[in-house]
């Protein structure tokens, strides 16, 4: 009875704050936009050059000149602004985006992240992922806890890195981890999904991690 994709997105949405500017990756992170609390102002950034976008258009109202970073048709909202990709990544690299939520193949206990290539397979490119993890103030990874019984939370990533020491938080179907990437304080398990146990997580995690006080006591 671990978290579903929707529940992982809902948990990630708890990291939103009023006035945040947020970049959401493809997949589960996209679903986070469904859980923005009513009355909270959150502007979504799309790295191709748009700040503030709305839902998919109604059928027949798609505009080829209006797409998000996933190349999907989206809509304008009253707060929308457009700018070049250079200006967009100046915004990202310059630390002006508060939160990036994205998927991953592997995360290491020191905050290293791998999500762009598998040696030997056709590489599609990193797109804007390297810029996002290097520039955004807080980086939250949302991913399945393990892939076909292979752990994804590792002591060291084995895949080529997207960023070194960049992840602040990992939300999996089994729980939530924080990583003290700045001071090298390591990884901590801070929350359990309903039904998940400390033992299950221990068995499916290669990385070393502390267990938060509240959980250890439980």
């Amino acid at each position: 009875m671990a978290w579903t994709r929707e529940q992982m997105a809902e948990r990630a949405a708890k990291e939103l704050r009023d006035g945040f500017y947020v970049n959401l990756g493809i997949g589960i992170p996209t679903l986070v936009s469904n859980y923005i609390p009513q009355g909270m102002s959150v502007q979504l950034q799309s790295e191709n050059g748009m700040l503030g976008f709305g839902p998919f258009p109604y059928e027949g109202e798609e505009d080829p000149d209006l797409i998000n970073a996933g190349k999907q048709t989206v809509t304008e909202i009253p707060t929308t602004s457009y700018f070049s990709s250079a200006d967009s990544f100046a915004m990202i690299r310059g630390g002006h985006i508060d939160l990036s939520i994205l998927g991953a193949m592997q995360v290491a206990e020191n905050g290293d992240l791998a999500n762009w290539m598998i040696p030997g397979k056709m590489v599609k490119g990193m797109g804007g992922a390297m810029d996002l993890v290097a520039g955004v103030k807080k980086v939250v990874v949302v991913m399945e806890h393990s892939a076909k019984s292979e752990p994804k939370l590792l002591k060291r990533c084995t895949l080529p890195l997207t960023g070194a020491g960049v992840v602040d938080m990992v939300i999996t179907d089994l729980g939530v981890f924080t990583i003290d990437k700045k001071r090298g304080g390591g990884m901590s398990l801070v929350e359990l999904a309903p039904g998940a146990t400390l033992e299950e997580i221990r068995s499916k995690t290669q990385a070393s991690y502390y267990v938060g006080n509240a959980l250890a006591a439980a």
């Binding site: 799309s46 790295e47 748009m50 797409i67 999907q72 990709s85 990544f89 490119g125 797109g127």
Partner: protein
């Protein structure tokens, strides 16, 4: 000083040479100078190095130049699901240099702005840093990236006046403005061709100095890569439905 040419072929006449480097605006299939790409295809020029965030899809955008094997090397951030691309790449017929998207955008901006190199945190500690100068500033590691220029830039704009002043529409802006500054020669295709003073000078994104030649493409066909829509509900767009 006549910048407007009668058609795309005339606009590119004398500018194309085997082995040259071309920057092509656009992100995905959005804001792509498709008509100019068609004219490049028809010219038969080959061994091209193409700087573009993506490489179109099969048979559309830069995909057109893959079909005819006119591209030798791509400098991109993401090449997506293009089958022809994958085939040629796996067969060793096509080189690819991947750049993080923001680094690519900034390299082009730097090239146009006379900045030969700059430092960025993007890619530090990854294989992207291999062979690049690294340096620490204020306790953080950065890598040095070089400015990028091209023999020719082709861009797509929503509207342009005959002086070459350009404006773009929505997310079709993307890489076009920087590329317009980084080509030794820049050729623009514009959906709407107007007279000077028809565009508010505060709204101009690309000043005319950057555009040497232009062509009017009133019937540009636009493609959508991922058509995503929502169903109309009984109630009209209420705030509750907004993502």
């Amino acid at each position: 000083m006549q910048k407007v040419y009668p058609d795309t072929r005339a606009a590119l006449a004398g500018l194309l040479k085997d082995g040259m480097t071309i920057m092509a605006g656009g992100f995905g299939l959005c804001g792509v100078p498709e008509q100019l790409i068609l004219a490049i295809r028809d010219s038969g020029v080959k061994n091209l190095t193409v700087v573009s965030n993506n490489c179109g899809i099969d048979g559309v955008g830069l995909g057109l130049l893959l079909d005819t094997r006119q591209i030798k090397k791509m400098i991109s951030s993401y090449v997506g699901e293009n089958k022809t691309f994958a085939q040629q790449y796996l067969a060793g017929e096509l080189e690819i240099e991947f750049n993080p998207q923001g680094t690519l955008a900034e390299r082009i901006r730097a090239g146009g702005a006379g900045i030969p190199a700059f430092f960025t945190r993007t890619g530090a500690g990854t294989q992207i840093a291999n062979g690049k100068d690294e340096r620490e500033f204020d306790g953080n590691r950065y890598i040095m990236e070089r400015g990028l220029v091209a023999d020719l830039s082709i861009v797509h704009a929503w509207m342009g006046d005959t002086e070459g002043n350009l404006v773009y529409r929505k997310t079709a802006r993307n890489f076009n403005p920087m590329m317009a500054t980084a080509g030794k020669v820049t050729v623009a295709e514009v959906e709407h061709l107007v007279q000077p003073a028809d565009i508010n000078p505060d709204h101009i994104v690309t000043p005319g100095v950057y555009v040497k030649r232009m062509v009017h493409v009133p019937n540009a066909v636009k493609h959508i890569e991922q058509r995503t829509v929502r169903k109309r509900t009984a109630a009209p767009a209420g705030t509750g439905e907004e993502v």
